[in-house]
């Protein structure tokens, strides 16, 4: 798949990180890591969450100082004390969360901090716009310099971030999880842009845990596991499975095994649902949906098409403007979260730290977030801690939450283990409808396998599962049926077995078969 001409100049190393050690207290985040990136090379950094890849890049960018080790940029030893030093040496970083001023134009954002000026500190805006046009043409990153950030797509915003780095003279670009927010088409475009940049002699370090993108984009890949460099491999001659097992340290499977089964009665029924977002704009606009027992229904769509509002409306966290929602034939429209929960709906929330957990509560306290008032956890007034503790210990064992210490605050768990706490709690409630929103966001391969297994188990117990995810691969491999959401409506309904990425991608962008109904 990665058949392009390579542009690597092996005689010119751009980045050399030698024997980098970084400790946080007793925890060794980077344990003698070496990394070498040449001119024109796309080098992927692969590792599970918390493996230390972001730490390494933050050291290179000057956000952390290493305990020991050396950094060489363009053949010179550099002490990267802060980002100003790294920027001056031609290192640019595009963060996962964009750092753009939304009401400003593209050009204004790109020149921010290094504005070309006329006399009396007046900004030379026409020169700025020209400059932006020039570099955007040079590197094949088409943008409209005069458009406002708030009016352009996420993919475009990412281009602006890349241009920002290039405008500051970056020769080495660090891209941190750049595809997390993009549609499949946008991902293809980004990869093309990256190849284009290497032709111009730029080097790119790509932080990711998506193997497919590494195969499609990178030349070399350094795998980091638990702070140690496992290996650096040529991507061309390594399979995805080999990469995955190096990352996790054991064999992993990508397939979600599930047996055929017939969906039964309708559990969730949504009729003409209209929901407003926080700015009082309609985010869900007359949506209809049914989920049946024994079925996993996946909702595919790009972030921001009403998914969040839809889930909040079902779970009672957001008021419904019009339309109705039924669980097993019972109307739950505009009921409180507790009433919805009592009707048999559980939710693995999109933002696990905001909604799913009280981070300053212990694991044990979090395990009873919905059930603390019920027997045996309390008699209605007094909490029965021995019962809460034994329940927690049982679930931690069953769902393999690590470390196995119920008294730890949820805050101190890794993302994967936080998610396990939530899943343990929600699945144990044995709901008729389980809603899983972005259940694997930020999780590594091993944890993803576990989450998917839990969803399929739930379906096999003849429960209904509603899966909302921005990862198309996930929706396609886990779901039985897929509904595509676009601008607050379901624009297409397909069987997961009979569809492909292109068809879904097209519908997600608003060009679906049922999408032209209005």
């Amino acid at each position: 798949m990665n058949t392009r001409q390579r542009n690597i100049d092996f005689d010119t190393p751009m980045i050399e990180m030698k024997d980098i050690v970084k400790k946080f207290g007793d925890f060794v985040a980077n344990d003698h890591i070496n990394l070498k990136v040449h001119k024109g090379e796309i080098h992927a950094l692969l590792g599970e969450n918390g493996a230390g890849k972001s730490t390494l890049m933050n050291i290179l960018y000057g956000l952390y100082t290493p305990n020991s080790g050396e950094i060489w940029i363009k053949g010179k030893k550099v002490e990267v004390k802060n980002p100003n030093v790294s920027i001056a040496h031609g290192v640019g970083m595009v963060h996962q969360h964009f750092m753009l001023v939304k009401p400003f134009t593209v050009a204004e954002n790109i020149i921010l901090g290094m504005e070309p000026t006329l006399g009396f500190n007046r900004i030379n805006m026409s020169k700025a716009i020209d400059d932006v046009r020039q570099i955007s043409e040079k590197y094949g990153l088409q943008v409209d310099p005069e458009a406002k950030i708030q009016d352009i797509t996420v993919g475009m915003q990412q281009r602006v971030e890349i241009l920002k780095a290039l405008y500051r003279g970056a020769d080495i670009l660090i891209l941190d999880e750049p595809t997390a927010v993009l549609t499949p088409q946008e991902i293809k475009e980004l990869i093309a842009i990256m190849h284009n940049l290497t032709e111009q002699g730029k080097s790119i370090i790509l932080i990711t845990h998506k193997l497919k993108e590494i195969k499609a984009a990178a030349d070399y890949c350094t795998i980091i596991r638990r702070g140690k460099r496992i290996d650096t491999v040529e991507v061309r001659s390594t399979t995805e499975n080999e990469l995955a097992s190096m990352m996790v340290g054991r064999e992993v499977s990508f397939e979600v095994y599930k047996e055929e089964r017939q969906a039964e009665d309708v559990v969730l029924k949504i009729e003409n649902l209209v929901v407003e977002d926080n700015r009082k704009q309609e985010a869900v606009k007359g949506l209809n949906l049914e989920v049946r027992a024994g079925e996993i229904l996946g909702i595919a769509g790009v972030d921001g098409n009403g998914q969040t509002e839809l889930i909040e409306a079902i779970t009672g966290l957001r008021k419904i403007k019009s339309g109705r929602i039924f669980i097993n034939g019972k109307d739950i429209t505009n009921k409180t979260p507790r009433e919805v929960f009592e009707s048999g709906v559980c939710n693995i929330p999109e933002d696990r730290q905001k909604h799913g957990l009280v981070l300053d509560y212990t694991i044990a306290e979090n395990m009873v977030l919905e059930n603390y008032r019920k027997e045996p956890f309390s008699n209605g007034i007094r909490l029965n801690f021995p019962q809460i503790f034994s329940f927690t210990e049982e679930l931690m064992e069953k769902f393999d939450v690590r470390p196995r210490n119920k008294d730890l605050k949820a805050r101190s768990l890794s993302g994967g283990n936080q998610q396990k706490v939530i899943i343990a709690r929600e699945v144990t409630n044995d709901p008729d409808l389980l809603i899983a929103a972005q259940p694997t966001r930020g999780l590594d391969v091993g944890a993803i396998e576990f989450v998917h297994r839990s969803l399929v188990d739930q379906r096999d117990k003849n429960k209904a599962v509603l899966l909302v995810s921005f990862e198309l691969d996930e929706v396609m491999s886990v779901s039985d049926n897929i509904a595509v959401i676009y601008e607050g409506k379901i624009v297409g309904m397909v069987n997961a077995k009979d569809t492909n990425e292109n068809e879904l991608g097209l519908m997600m962008a608003g060009g679906g078969h049922n999408g032209s109904e209005q």
Binding site: V21, F341, P349, K354, H355, V358, S378, P403
Partner: protein, 365 residues
């Protein structure tokens, strides 16, 4: 198992660290006070000796320290409780006033045997102050008005409302700027202690009641479903709502309980010490000092007790420094510095971290 014991160690270390840093802040505050005393031309050792003598040298002095500390335990607890549930109760002052006023009214106008009179006065005052605090919670949950703004305004309303009520004929003792004294049956004095310590000492049951209330609040906060809900809302409103907790009701309940605590302080001050309420030009500061007490006590119910005693001791014993000419304002500087150091002990923490980092670096090399 190994992980367990390691984490336990870490946990106990952190708790101790907070305690150590608080003690360190107190020492630093006293040092700043010593510096000021020296600069004013007095001997700091002599001044502090007088202060300590002023607290401990006679049983009578100890009693006065306890009397000073009693309302501070409750107002401190009021602020700490609100903090634990995510709210800043700057309205303890007003709630204290409402509690005191209600106690004076019920204590004067009702005529009952003591066994009924005391609990009725206490419960009535607590109820009134809980309502006063609840108003703040209601405004916040219903209209989104920030509790700090609402409670500051209610402080002034409480003050002038009390002044207005005192001035009503039938309640105001003629020729004074105060109300009539409450009946003996509504007082919580301990007469035999008074005989031991001297007639001027107003020893009362307040401290016992305050300690009992503190234990009840601790139990409520950490052992019951109500406490679970309130703390969950304080830590993370969104997760609490997701878990089915009624966030608005929790905010109202939390402010009402905070109000009740400050009101109890006001009631017991009237029932045990002042026996009347007086027209005030400005606030007395029991509620505001409660904020400082809560802060020094790390918002922990038992920490609050210790910090209230520290506060009571410093203000009572500190006044004795006047005998060699040291102005009492010095003691306010000491208290202010302690609070400053407690609030900024992040600085110490940072120094600790820096120190550890240096050590680590050495190990690596």
């Amino acid at each position: 198992m190994e992980v367990n014991s390691k984490k336990e160690k870490l946990k106990s270390f952190l708790i101790n660290e907070t305690l150590i840093l608080t003690l360190l802040s107190i020492v630093m505050g006293l040092l700043v006070g010593a510096l000021i005393i020296t600069l004013s031309g007095y001997n700091p050792l002599e001044a502090y000796r007088l202060m300590l003598e002023g607290i401990f040298s006679q049983p009578r002095y100890i009693a006065w320290t306890v009397i000073r500390a009693t309302p501070l335990i409750l107002t401190g607890l009021s602020v700490a409780f609100a903090f634990r549930t995510g709210l800043f109760n700057i309205g303890a002052e007003g709630q204290f006033i409402i509690g005191a006023l209600t106690a004076a009214l019920l204590g004067y106008f009702l005529e009952l045997p003591a066994i009924l009179h005391v609990p009725i006065v206490l419960c009535g005052s607590i109820l009134a102050a809980a309502t006063w605090g609840g108003i703040v919670g209601f405004l916040k949950s219903k209209f989104g008005i920030h509790e700090v703004i609402a409670s500051i305004m209610l402080n002034w309303i409480a003050l002038y409302f009390m002044n207005y009520i005192i001035n009503q004929p039938g309640f105001k003792r003629p020729g004074t700027e105060a109300s009539f004294d409450i009946h003996e049956s509504a007082r919580i004095s301990i007469p035999w202690m008074r005989e031991v310590l001297g007639p001027a000492t107003k020893v009362n049951w307040g401290i016992v009641i305050a300690l009992v209330i503190t234990a009840v609040i601790y139990y409520l906060l950490f052992k019951t479903t109500i406490g679970y809900e309130l703390r969950a809302v304080g830590y993370n409103k969104d997760a609490a709502e997701y878990g089915g907790i009624n966030v608005n009701r929790s905010i109202m309940l939390s402010m009402a309980i905070a109000g009740a605590l400050a009101g109890a302080a006001g009631a017991m001050h009237v029932m045990g010490v002042s026996f009347r309420v007086s027209v005030l030009a400005a606030m007395e500061g029991y509620g505001f000092n409660g904020i400082a007490v809560a802060l020094i006590g790390n918002n922990n119910p038992f920490g609050v007790i210790l910090s209230a005693f520290l506060f009571g001791g410093l203000t009572y014993g500190g006044s004795k420094m006047q005998t060699i000419g040291v102005p009492t304002e010095v003691i306010n500087i000491v208290i202010g510095s302690i609070i400053f150091f407690v609030a900024t002990y992040r600085i110490f923490r940072y120094v600790l971290v820096l120190f550890n980092r240096k050590k680590l670096q050495k190990e690596v090399q």
